[in-house]
Amino acid sequence: MSDLQMTDVVPLVPRARTGVGHVAPLLPLEVSGLRLDVGGAALLDGVDLTLAPGGCTVIMGPNGAGKSILLKLLHGLLAPSSGSVSWNALPATQATARQALVFQKPVLLRRSVAANMDFVLKARGADRGRRDALLEDVGLAHKARQPARLLSGGEAQRLALARALATDPEVLFLDEPTASLDPASVLVIERIVGEACARGTRIVFVTHDIGQARRIADEVVFLHRGRVAEHSRATDFFPEPRSQAARDYLAGKIIV
């Protein structure tokens, strides 16, 4: 259960996007009583959450806490057993097209790196001219002609990020996007995500890397056993987490 109401949070970054001015923004997000039961087990057990416009929310929590599942529910890929997800009054499934999700396991088409980018740009009717700049950004320009599925784990994740950015999403979900990256690449990804955030893309970032969370988080949602154990500003969370689970997690204790 969330023990903090985030209603007093002001937008961290003003959203300054072009071309969507006539459409209502997707934020704020209101999640209430979100449950997902599979085979008698509650994978999510009553999640209440409010996300204000702008900024970077980091979701943390032990393995199996339900982080990936929560992202998929917010993105409209899974239907909840009960409860609701409301993107500024839009149901999750109607917000999907304006968002992008970088999966924990990147799903790459059996095509070249460049063709993977083209596919997404075409599907979203976006300008294909941006492809090379995006690949350049994630350091994959020199691999453009290579089969995507021969990329290393880290390269695959960088391609998945470039592909997600290609859709120019209003909300970008990232599920441990730097889990298999070398330290330099981690910083590159953080810079790219930070730039997207500065341009007004709402970031929801799952990570186990506490140092990374400190660097990028404006606020932290700590999940534990399918519930929100804590939802705090980053400046409050890291010095002094209020939930026992988060304290143990940050102290490196095994929690289940």
Binding site: G76, A97, Q99, A100, L109, R111, A123, R124, L150, A156
Partner: protein
């Protein structure tokens, strides 16, 4: 009647010297079965892909029927096509009976279920991997289907090959709707059946050898294509 050894020797001579009658028969076989395979793929692949990406009531029943139709007896298909194409049949005006066109039609019907059922399996596995990404991108069903067909193209070659193998080897359907007419509708299988019954073993054997070599050759070709595709990670399971 010659000894078997003699028959083999004559058969090889026929194959090597490129005897005209023999190659006419082989050419027609290829023309009919390749056309049927192409048509069956045009019809069967979209069916397989659509079933692979769709969830609907009665889907289980559709799968059972698709799988059952893979075992359609060629003579039954031949008989049905015959009834439709015969002069008094609903399609009799086409005048197709006893032409290669009728044989293509019969073989197409015979292998559409094979192409549909096998491609459904291949594409469903691929879709299981891609489905969440597709939904994240809000792809239409049509976009999903075309993407699966393109990305699964190397795996689907094997499906086409299975269809071709069935078509080129069957005798029951083409003999009924084609009639095994010399220089018109005689293909390898019907010729082998006829020549064997007439006792002309060298010609029957020669055709049998060509049929075997053809089957091996097509298999080897597809296999090497798949291997080169695998080297480029265009087929097979995800590496991550």
């Amino acid at each position: 009647m010659q000894s078997i050894g003699e028959a083999f020797r004559l058969a090889f001579t026929l194959v090597v010297t490129g005897e005209a009658d023999l190659y006419e028969i082989v050419a027609l076989s290829l023309q009919v079965s390749l056309s049927a395979t192409l048509l069956a793929c045009l019809v069967g692949l979209p069916i397989g892909a659509l079933v692979a990406v769709s969830r609907f009531r009665g889907r289980g029943l559709v799968l059972v029927v698709m799988n059952a139709l893979m075992g359609l007896p060629p003579v039954v298909v031949g008989l049905l096509v015959y009834l439709y194409l015969s002069r008094s049949g609903p399609l009799g005006f086409l005048g197709l009976l006893y032409t290669p066109g009728a044989m293509i039609l019969a073989q197409t019907i015979l292998i559409v279920p094979i192409v549909a059922a096998l491609s459904r399996q291949v594409l469903e596995d691929l879709h299981a991997e891609y489905a969440e990404q597709f939904r994240s991108l809000c792809l239409s069903r049509w976009q999903s289907v075309t993407t699966l067909l393109w990305d699964g193209r190397y795996a689907l070659l094997t499906v086409g090959l299975a269809g071709f193998g069935r078509a080129v080897a069957e005798v029951g359907a083409v003999i009924i709707v084609g009639g095994n007419i010399d220089h018109a509708t005689r293909v390898m299988t019907t010729a082998i059946a006829l020549e064997t019954s007439k006792g002309d073993l060298p010609l029957a054997l020669a055709l049998g050898i060509v049929l075997l070599v053809l089957a091996l050759g097509v298999n080897a070709g597809v296999q090497s294509l798949r291997m080169s595709a695998a080297r480029h990670a265009m087929v097979g399971a995800s590496h991550v």
